[in-house]
């Protein structure tokens, strides 16, 4: 702990954290594998049973390797995941990576934009509410936070569709109009980025307008979490001993508030951002259904309804890996901000 070299080495911490990802992902892969095998019936009969005769089903099982010993299947699964091959869907025989590529972009852009809205609205409101505790703005902001957090997504979605979309002329369904979908070159397969790459003004406007309602619905929901979290943290740091000590050194109010109270209050927020983001990747399902958003969440629901185990296994694996990577990112960002974490 002592000595001038004592400041925890950041690169070493990051390396440790990244190495820890390997066992975490291994555990997740194993869980996904086991859960899907434990479920009654095998994937092929679940997906295609009744549609094909027994012989054809056996053929399918053999082709997909379901007739081999479990341990071999498990090994194959791990090896193929390591090769970034997440398998194919059974129902429409598509590589999972393509499914994710074509639908993940919509989910990602919806989640990221919703998050930006939540942070841009939630953090400042939380700061104001905490700084001016028990004032009229504080009460109003707290009420707003509770309402947005407590209201179900589909309810807020319907309200926005019914009362906001029409007067403003906003689209209420889909990610873009058909014209845009067909004219924009899928360079990155993320429509939001492709449309900007295409430089087509009308298409950009079209995509952004489609994004407004779903992103606001999702953003408002998360923003309630941030309002409350930031407010509570501000209340705590404003009372902190080091804030009083900074005041005793004659620092002006603004500097004390920004450098000592706000900055420190935002540390726990980073952790929660990570958790919420992970939650949202999967939780966008409701928003996507409400707004008919062509995202991965909606696709996953479709595949589950079709009992497409291959698709579910592949998509869930990818989701899990994404969540693990986000949690590592959060840890690294935390270490950058808070020196005490680096040990």
């Amino acid at each position: 702990m002592t000595g001038s070299t004592g400041t925890g080495s950041l690169p070493r911490y990051i390396l440790q954290r990244i190495l820890l990802v390997i066992p975490m992902i291994w555990v997740i892969l194993t869980l996904v594998f086991v859960i899907l095998r434990v479920a009654p019936g095998d994937p092929v009969s679940a997906a295609l049973g009744g549609k094909l005769d027994e012989e054809a089903l056996d053929e399918r099982r053999a082709a997909l390797g379901f007739d081999r010993p479990l341990i071999e299947q498990y090994w194959d699964y791990l090896v193929s995941v390591m090769k970034l091959d997440f398998g194919t869907t059974f129902s429409d025989n598509q590589p999972i990576l393509h499914v994710v590529r074509d639908n993940g972009g919509a989910t990602l852009s919806l989640t990221v934009v919703a998050f930006l809205i939540a942070l841009l609205v939630g953090i400042p409101l939380g700061l104001v509410a905490g700084r001016y505790r028990d004032s009229v703005p504080d009460v109003a902001i707290r009420l707003f936070g509770i309402l947005t957090y407590a209201a179900p997504i589909f309810f807020v979605g319907f309200l926005l569709q019914a009362y906001v979309a029409a007067p403003l002329g906003l689209p209420t369904s889909g990610a873009a109009s058909p014209r845009t979908v067909f004219t924009v070159e899928p360079t990155t397969h993320i429509l939001l980025i492709d449309v900007f790459l295409s430089g087509d003004g009308a298409a950009i406007e079209d995509v952004l307008l489609h994004l407004v309602l779903p992103a606001c619905t999702l953003g408002l929901l998360i923003c309630g979490v941030f309002i409350r979290l930031v407010r509570v943290n501000i209340l705590q740091t404003m009372q902190a001993d080091y804030v009083e000590a900074a005041e005793a050194r004659g620092l002006d109010r603004r500097k004390v508030t920004w450098r000592h109270a706000f900055r420190n209050a935002l540390v726990p927020v980073v952790t929660v951002i990570g958790l919420q983001f992970a939650l949202l990747l999967g939780g966008a399902v409701l928003t996507e259904s409400t707004f008919n958003w062509p995202g991965l969440g909606k696709k996953l629901v479709d595949y589950i309804n079709e009992r497409d185990y291959g698709a579910v296994q592949g998509i869930v694996t990818l989701f899990a890996v994404a969540v693990v990577l986000i949690s590592v990112l959060v840890d690294v960002v935390n270490a950058l901000i808070d020196p005490r974490v680096r040990y």
Partner: protein
């Protein structure tokens, strides 16, 4: 900030008004209230004292007597809802009535503060260097960067912290080192007056001795005036020129340490000294009862209900501040002035009755 070098006999004779440059801090009838739903708590209730350049005044008293509140009141660091009144002059300027902007400017550069808990007083996210640099920049924005660093390193060196630790984070220091960091931070701008609020309470005895030594060196080297708040009578004897004994929001006795400790006039001072634990202590002494409710304190002397020498007059009439025999002030009817005690006032006070009445 330079001060004219005065006669070298700093520690010996403290006659604030005679030395020529007057007291650094002069407090008159200072009061601090905390508003609560039950009414105002009169935490500090009419306190007066002077502090000459280079002088250390020890402020002692039991927990809750208003010591820390007085220290914070002088610094202007009271929480929202607290009110203060009276007069605190820093070099002749009234700190309590000056504009908030001027008061802010004084804080840190002229009035410094050292706190009780060094572990939590530094921002864990900021390097030690950032603490120093923001403090120096706040008060001397035009100072070049090299100069800022130099000053910070000088302050650290004085506290025995090597320059290699300048870029470290607070959590990389031990408690004693953090307190030295806090002192260095308070000193870096050479304030003329420092409030040290129980600076050694959270530290072990060896570190405590070290910090007391550092505080002792301060007044010798920089003529810093110090208000040393403590409940440790030993530290007062060791590090202070004068001592003020506080009870229930009032200074009941003050004077030169040697005088007060050799011949305490106020019964509370006497009891406090008797309660001090030393290696020769064989039995523990304590004062029965507890301090009065400060929301609506009983009339008369606040110590009367617990005082072994209480007289009838003590429960009815506020004692008058008088000169102590041997210098300083004391407020106690047992000391005087006898000619103002009404007839029959010297009768022994029935304390049990009073305690019951108090509780009712």
């Amino acid at each position: 900030m330079t001060q004219p070098e005065l006669d070298p006999v700093l520690e010996a004779e403290f006659q604030p008004d005679v030395t020529g440059d007057g007291p650094v801090i002069s407090a008159r009838d200072v009061r601090v209230w905390y508003g609560t739903t039950r009414g105002a708590i009169r935490a500090v209730d009419g306190v007066s004292f002077d502090l000459a350049p280079g002088e250390t005044l020890g402020l002692v008293g039991e927990s809750g007597c208003g010591k820390s509140t007085l220290g914070r009141g002088l610094m202007g660091l009271l929480p929202a809802g607290a009110k203060r009144d009276g007069e605190v002059r820093f070099r002749g300027e009234d700190v309590l009535t000056m504009s908030p902007r001027d008061a802010h400017r004084l804080r840190g550069s002229q009035l410094g503060m050292i706190f009780q808990e060094p572990m939590t007083r530094l921002n864990p996210l900021l390097r030690v260097s950032a603490h120093f640099e923001e403090a120096i920049r706040q008060h001397e924005p035009k100072l070049p960067k090299r100069e800022v660093t130099q000053r910070a390193l000088d302050a650290l060196r004085m506290m025995g912290i090597p320059p290699t630790r300048y870029r470290s984070y607070p959590h990389e220091f031990s408690g004693g080192m953090r307190q030295r960091l806090m002192i260095a931070l308070a000193l870096v701008l050479r304030p003329a007056f420092i409030v040290a609020d129980e600076p050694t309470t959270a530290l072990d005895v060896l570190v405590e001795a070290q910090i007391v030594q550092i505080l002792n060196d301060l007044r010798r080297d920089f003529r810093t005036s110090l208000l040393l708040i403590t409940h440790n009578v030993g530290i007062v004897a060791e590090a202070c020129d004068r001592v003020a004994v506080m009870y229930a929001g009032r200074i009941v006795e003050q004077g030169r340490v040697a005088d007060v400790f050799a011949a305490p006039q106020h019964p509370y001072t006497r009891e406090l000294l008797r309660s001090t634990i030393s290696l020769r202590t064989t039995g523990l002494n304590f004062i029965p009862g507890s301090p009065p409710d400060l929301i609506d304190p009983p009339p008369g002397c606040r110590f009367a209900p617990r005082c072994p020498q209480a007289m009838a007059v003590c429960a009815t009439t506020d004692p008058i501040t008088i000169e102590r025999p041997g210098g300083g002030q004391v407020e106690c009817w047992a000391v005087g002035p006898t000619d103002l005690i009404p007839a029959g006032g010297t009768a022994r006070l029935q304390q049990e009755e009073l305690a019951v009445a108090d509780e009712a």
